[in-house]
Symmetry: C2
Subunit: 218 residues, 2 copies
DNA sequence: TTTATTTTTTAGACCGATCTAAAAATTGAC
DNA sequence: GTCAATTTTTAGATCGGTCTAAAAAATAAA
C-alpha cells in the first residue's frame, strides 16, 4: 500500500520517464514535485525498497514493472474522474485537474470499475489524454503537434499537451475544443505564430506557444 | 484548513455529543477514534486552538458554532457521496460507508454543490439519515424505534441506527428496506424479539437487537 | 589532468500524529 | 472525609515527510 505522497511521486516518475522509457534524475523530480533534492533522495529510497522503482545512486531512478502498473492505475483514476466531472457534473475542462488530483487517491477498486461502467468506458479524458484500461493498457493515438502541420491541410484537435487552466480557458474563448477542425492558413516566419480557421469558419491568430501545445491528427 | 485527521475527530465529536448538545469525554472519543486517550488529549488541544471546540481539562470538550458547521459540512459530503454511490453507481447500501469515509475529505465546494445538483438535492442518504443543506441546516424527521411500536400498527421504515454492513446485508436478505411497511404481529416477552410482516406479505422474526436499530414512522 | 561547477547524497533538525509509561486529577466506596 | 479505583494529562519516544547546511560524487572547463 502506497501513501498519498508516494503515489504522487510515482506518477511524476512515470510521466517524467515518458512511460518508463528513460531514467529520471533527482533534480528533475524535485522540480516537478515542488520539493528539494534531499527530500527526493529520501523518498526514492523508500519507493525503491517497496519495489516500485530501481534506484542507482547518482544515476537516477527507473520505474519497475509493478511501479508502472501502479502509476497507470493512478492515471486511470485521475482521467476517469476528470471525465466524470466534465461529462456528468458539468465542470468546465479547466476546472477538473485540481479536484482529480485529490480523487485519484481514493482507494476502492469497486468504485473505479463502477465509475468506468457508468461513464461507458471512455477512451480519453476531457483533455484528449488516453485512459488506461483495467489492465493498465493504454492506447496511444498517433498525433502530431499543430505547428508541424502543412498549410491548408484540415486537421482535427485531439489533445492538449499543456493542460493549465489559463491555456484551456484561452482555447475555450477562441473556440478551440477537442474534436474541432483546424486549418492553417498562414505561418508567420518571424515569430512562429499561425493564422488558422476553426471548423472552416472563424479565423484567428495563435502564438507559436499555443500551436506547440495542440495535438492534432489529419 | 483542517487536516484529514482533524476532520475525523471533529465529526466524531459532533456525533458523540448528539449534535453539539453534550460534552464529550476523552475516553469516549478515544474509543470511537480507535486510538489512545493520550493521543486524544493532544488532538483536542489542537482543535481547541483552531476554534473548533472548547476544551476544559478533565471535563471533556464541547463543539463550537464554527466547529459544528464544519462537522455538518463533512457529514453533508459523506451522505451526498453515499447517495451518489447507491443511486448513480449502483452500489449496495452496505458497500458505501467505507468509500464515503474517504470521499468526505475531498476539498472542493464546487464539486459538492454540483454533486448535490446532479442528485436532485436529496434529503436523506441510503440509510435514511438526513443530509445537511448548503447552509448546514438539517431536517430531522420525527421517528421512533421499531421495538417501541404498538402491535398491529402499520409503520414505515425510515432509517437504520446501526449502519454496519452485516446488519444492512441482513436487512436486504429478509427484505427490509427504507420505505418498507412493517407491522408487528407478535412480541415475544422472553427475549424481546418480534414477529413482523413486511409490506403486508412476508412474515419474519427479528431479534430485539435488530428491532432496536430500525427507525420508523407511523 | 587538475580545478571549478553542478548535481546528488548525507547529517541533523523539525512538525504532525501517534504510542507507552508515569504522574496528576477526579470520582466512587466505605 | 479518607483511601482506592478510574480517568485524564504529561513526558518522552517513534515514524513519515520535509527542510537546511555540509559533504561527496560526477561533470565541465581550463
Ligand atoms: Mn489532470
Ligand atoms: Mn486530463
Ligand atoms: Mn456512512
Ligand atoms: Mn449513511
Amino acid at each position: 500500500m502506497l501513501s498519498f505522497t508516494e503515489e504522487n511521486y510515482l506518477k511524476s516518475i512515470y510521466h517524467l520517464s515518458n512511460g518508463g522509457t528513460q531514467a529520471v534524475l533527482t533534480n528533475a523530480l524535485a522540480e516537478s514535485m515542488n520539493t528539494k533534492a534531499a527530500s527526493v533522495t529520501d523518498m526514492v529510497k523508500k519507493l525503491s525498497t517497496k519495489g516500485m522503482i530501481s534506484y542507482e545512486k547518482y544515476y537516477g531512478v527507473k520505474i519497475t514493472r509493478v511501479g508502472k502498473t501502479e502509476a497507470l492505475m493512478i492515471i486511470r483514476k485521475h482521467r476517469l474522474w476528470e471525465t466524470f466531472l466534465v461529462q456528468t457534473l458539468q465542470f468546465n475542462w479547466d476546472e477538473v485537474h485540481e479536484v482529480a488530483e485529490q480523487l485519484e487517491h481514493i482507494q476502492s477498486p469497486l468504485l473505479i470499475e463502477k465509475l468506468d461502467d457508468f461513464l461507458g468506458h471512455p477512451r480519453t479524458d476531457p483533455h484528449g489524454h488516453p485512459i488506461p484500461d483495467k489492465a493498465g493498457k493504454i492506447v496511444e493515438i498517433k498525433q502530431v503537434i499543430l505547428s508541424t502541420c502543412a498549410l491548408r491541410k484540415k486537421v482535427m484537435v485531439r489533445a492538449v499537451r499543456n493542460g493549465s487552466p489559463s491555456f484551456l480557458q484561452y482555447l475555450s474563448k477562441i473556440g478551440v475544443y477537442i474534436g474541432a477542425t483546424l486549418t492553417i492558413v498562414d505561418k508567420v516566419e518571424f515569430d512562429g505564430s499561425l493564422e488558422i480557421t476553426i471548423d472552416g469558419k472563424k479565423k484567428v491568430f495563435i502564438s507559436r506557444d499555443a500551436a506547440e501545445n495542440l495535438m492534432v491528427t489529419e
